[in-house]
Symmetry: D2
Subunit: 327 residues, 4 copies
């Protein structure tokens, strides 16, 4: 595809972790040009002044202004700030907005802009036709990808979920729990049984299985590593392991990033990729589902680009064939 | 206490992780002398040839023979090997045996030797009078310390437990999951819902609360760090948070190593100590219990020394006032 | 470029770390098809049975035979094994061989096959015309990239070098120093002042500056992380910092993977990329040169693909625009 | 020793890393009572509100006032703050001061208070008779312990030194280089060839070998772990390896914390102890010296307690028989 026909994307809030990851993906995207990266505080500086690994990749600088000759705007702003931005900044209606915050994941709208929940494995067709996308939360993505096939089959009941996340999940703000000296070799939990992502998870699952009460007991854990989310969920199930595997394999057939593994998985299979791997176990009457992803990619910027691809009619995997870190 | 009145302890299987930790504790023990460390494969070599950190601490060498002028033998052997050792090696009946394997935790005996389960917070008086001790498993200790007060009050019902352990829990054997390149920054699970420690956990809890069905859904996780176990359990409970805290504080009053924290805990508070910290949360109808320990100390060698102290009529904390690594 | 015109590459020894990395790169290469991956011990198994992160990327299996309808063979064998392989296996002369071992880096040949030293920043033109390539060592690459401009300018004198490498540098063999429990949070050195890479380093530098005595005092350090090499070298120099920067910038102008940084660098800028970053400091009469790379990419498989691209007349960067791990 | 005869120590600045470590050591010290811990910002709070691992160890609270019924004051203040404190706070002359900052390491005095440089391996007798102690820097301690025997023998010449330190060396201040996401798996250098500890190092070494020019080329590295310093120094030497070992062993004979190892060392042998290990290698004409310590113990608070013991006429090792973390 020639340069002239490339689509154009702009990034709002390009100085944070998800902004940086979105830049990295768009710089190598074959069909989309990174038109600008907006950052008030860094305007005029080269991108690599903030994202040092971009040295040698691009001479682009942060933009003070928001050009409107783009096809899509990707908002990499904090929770609450996306709404403020869209309320205060006039964006032409024909420009798609993909928002990475949690501001529009529960059906909220702003200035007439409606948002489709951007989980392709849940409803890819709606995303293709969407004007705007509310990109799912990182934990929410991995938890849902472990449960969607069961919800669709009407087989969900009370779920018990452990989730472990890397430090990037907490962003770049300096705080006690992000101090290396504290976090190295350490484990702790937070928001036990009351994580904010439970809302969007329940919303999707109940849409698929209306009778489901939405009971998810979720224990979020701060892990001792930078990237990746590990989810283990279990629930009562009368499926055999083989039946369960077939249900999941059938469900994810044709989805290029979510794969079912019949052998034991470990987190580094997906770190620095846009993939999600799902593995099952059956122990007596319980079905155990492990689902893993990179929280910044399939859990944030990678899924945003996946949604952008679908929205713009591009190959779903364009720009997302990433080499895993593996080690 | 003068040297002449010191008790004497011997270690069988001193070349592994728990053997090394037991040596480290006994070298600094004020009231017990390390009489010998037996290791067939290392006989004649200095201890620091195997445990390099002991350089400068002792010139003791591994012993080929087992002296019988000791008060206690601590067995740091693999599972199954303790039984073989006691079946094949005549040990005078007056010598106490403290066994760190899982061979005698469920009431098994050998050559007439009976074993008391060595969890002081469960039954300290029995340990004081015991001839021999079956030292609890690492996960088993931390899980039980999070549940004992509830069991004693008859308040247990189905429990959901996440447990994360450091790499030392898997011993020093070289294997794929112990390769640094694989394990660094990685997460995985094993023996989900079927960990072998569940047996000894259920045994204790049902002894305290006979009507308890023993339902514990336990998800063991391989953590990305060497030392420490994090446990989060939750269950339905009608207790208020304050009632629960009072129940736990009352239960652990007088126990020198298990402490109840009213503020949020993190694993490194206990690493390299013999302590266990317990913290509670109440979220709607669920009581959440976090319990943490160093898997090699309170979860193994430290608890063995604690049991030895009790058995020999010494101060329970002798030799166990350890400086945490903290960072 | 259409599929029909793609070049074809085969990998010998695809089960190790560099084999895996080479597979990952070739699977996404736009102009080269991965024809086969040979592995005696794994023949018939899918690649993802060994390289678990490849699940969902390819259904290719390890090959028992070596097809000869390829343009290039990449040997990912251990030191000494490449020579044995080429001595015992008839490979048609028109097939290029790129060897990652140290067997042919010092001008050795086998069965009439001559090898060009594959450091593009040293002699890209020779590589373009080469029949076969001896791919440089990981430490050797990073050390040389910190010194080449000085050697070319005839400014080398006695060099003092610290090098820190990740655990992947030692391969996947299980050994004491690769045990997670040992290596986590640990530091140690090896082969101090006598690392085997010094030979190839001296050979290149003396070719550029014949009067240079080759004195490099090299302290190799085992780092506490999986990927990446950090090199700090210093030597007496009368250059100002600005003169030194201009010398380096001029030298690396036009080299797409080696970049000169005028701000402080850190290792994660290059991890999981094929880049090398070089930063300079001047302290009194000493010039300090920091040079960093990913040991498995620019230090091994990435450079092999870069050499392959040059050899086959492709864009030097094809298949090597990699997203850094960054965090 | 009975409680009534215990010496008494107060800590000024007890909320930081070295303050916490000093508290931990004094809480278990057999012959010294921790009289108070002063901290303006935390007055009234329990120590464990700041140092969470002290939960269950002590109910002591931070003091707003500085009692003068103590034998020794240990200042755990930032650089520059010790001088300010001693200038503005009247401390009775008979109270010993041990200062952990760099304010008095080069012979400075304040209000008539003179300070002896507190490196026991250098001049233990002077410390025993000292009124006040300037406690050495962390890097300075490890570098000097690798060089003292050579300086005393008049054998120093230009030294080349690599030093790697854990994150605790940078204190608890939140900053970019202390963010877990940045520092995990990362390497970087700082103050290359110009670290401030070079001054105190040169001062000691030139006192022992007046003709020594003081040339030390020191490359400080930020390591990817919390605790410990690794030093590798090398220099020209005509000693054989055996001669060098005998020189070092003779020098450190009778020093309870610094030990010479004839086998290869690794950092975790000393982490969480007050020990320093020294290992030698000879490669052609170069003598290589590795010296390692825990930066917060032998490099700070442990050495302060060691100095306190000497000053107060106690056993040099009292309160310092610490269990290493080892794993």
């Amino acid at each position: 595809m020639g340069t002239n026909t490339k689509k154009r994307a702009g990034i709002i809030g390009g100085a944070g972790y998800t902004g940086g990851e979105t830049i990295r993906l768009l710089l190598n995207h074959p069909d989309v040009e990174l038109a600008f990266v907006h950052s008030r505080s860094n305007a005029g500086n080269p991108l690599y002044a903030v994202h040092a690994d971009l040295l040698g990749e691009t001479e682009l600088t942060f933009a003070a202004d928001i050009a409107d000759n783009v096809d899509v705007l990707i908002l990499c702003l904090g929770h609450g700030e996306s709404r403020k931005f869209l309320e205060s900044t006039p964006i032409p209606a024909h420009i798609h907005v993909i928002d990475l915050s949690q501001d529009f994941r529960l059906g909220e709208s702003v200035n007439g802009r409606e948002f489709v929940y951007g989980l392709p494995e849940y409803d890819r067709e709606a995303i293709k036709k969407a004007a705007n996308i509310a990109n799912p939360g990182c934990f929410a993505t991995a938890v849902q990808l472990g449960l969607l096939p069961l919800a669709k089959a009407g087989l969900l009941n009370e779920v018990h979920t452990t989730g472990i996340t890397g430090s990037t999940g907490a962003g770049q703000k300096l705080q006690g729990t992000s101090h290396f000296t504290w976090r190295a070799n350490n484990i702790s939990t937070y928001k036990v049984l009351q994580h904010q992502h439970l809302k969007e998870i329940r919303r999707t699952l109940q849409a698929l299985q209306p009778a489901y009460s939405g009971a998810i007991n979720f224990v979020p854990v701060r892990g001792d590593y930078p990237r990746g989310i590990w989810i283990t969920s279990y629930l009562d199930s009368s499926l055999t392991l083989e039946e369960a595997y077939q249900l999941f394999e059938e469900f994810y057939k044709g989805h290029p990033f979510t794969h079912v593994s019949r052998t034991q998985i470990d987190l580094k299979q997906v770190v620095n990729t846009n993939k999600c791997l799902v593995q099952l176990e059956k122990v007596e009457g319980k079905l155990v589902i492990h689902s893993i992803e990179d929280n910044l990619l399939k859990g944030a910027s990678g899924q945003a680009v996946q949604n952008m691809n679908l929205l713009l009619g591009l190959d779903e995997t364009a720009g997302l064939k990433l080499k895993s870190i593996v080690f």
